[in-house]
Amino acid sequence: MFAAPMIAILVSMAMLLVRAVKGPTVFDRILSVNSFGTKTVLLIAVLGFLTGRPAFLDLALVYALMNFISTIAVLKFTRFGSLAGKRLRPTEPQAADS
């Protein structure tokens, strides 16, 4: 019975994968990766119950955590690095406070 959510999550992962590959902007990709991470958390939680080892939840939390931190890191990078403007019209990041 746990199969239903698992399949749903896998299918939606596949759809996210398509979005991540297609882009078109870097932000779309970051969003897909972030969303993919959330799906992974859910998948692991469900899988943990499927195999009867709820200790897997530690793992799910680590994923949630790493997902958050790497998203922030990536964003910081797009803001200060020079790469983000590749497909966008790059404008100067505004000064410290607007």
């Binding site: 749903a8 999550i9 709820p54 958050f68």
Partner: protein
């Protein structure tokens, strides 16, 4: 024997799966980045919430429930934070949202 709790749990899990699917579909269908953020946030809230809630019903009252709750809490705190930061970064770097004014909208709906 499937008790009421079991049924509730499965209802939650199935509904959560449904929303997870809708979320990904939204990611594919919606036209621009900003609207896709909305799509992603479906799965962050409803998808994750319902699936984890379903698992809570499975687990019964134990430490596992607490852990599930904490995972959900973490997702709820960090989810909006990262999607906001993402939207903001895009906005500041000059990615223009695809907007439709009210008039156009009205005419396209007619």
């Amino acid at each position: 024997m499937p008790g009421a709790l079991d049924i509730l749990s499965w209802a939650c899990l199935l509904a959560g799966s449904f929303f997870a699917l809708v979320s990904s579909l939204a990611m594919l269908r919606l036209p621009d980045f900003y609207s896709r953020v909305h799509g992603a946030s479906i799965s962050d809230t409803m998808g994750a919430g319902l699936i984890l809630l379903g698992l809570v019903f499975q687990a019964g009252l134990s430490l596992v429930t607490v852990k599930l709750g904490l995972v959900l809490m973490f997702l709820v705190i960090t989810g909006p934070t990262s999607s906001h930061t993402l939207a903001k970064a895009a906005y500041r770097l000059g990615l223009d949202p695809q907007l439709r004014s009210k008039e156009e909208n009205a005419s396209s709906q007619n």
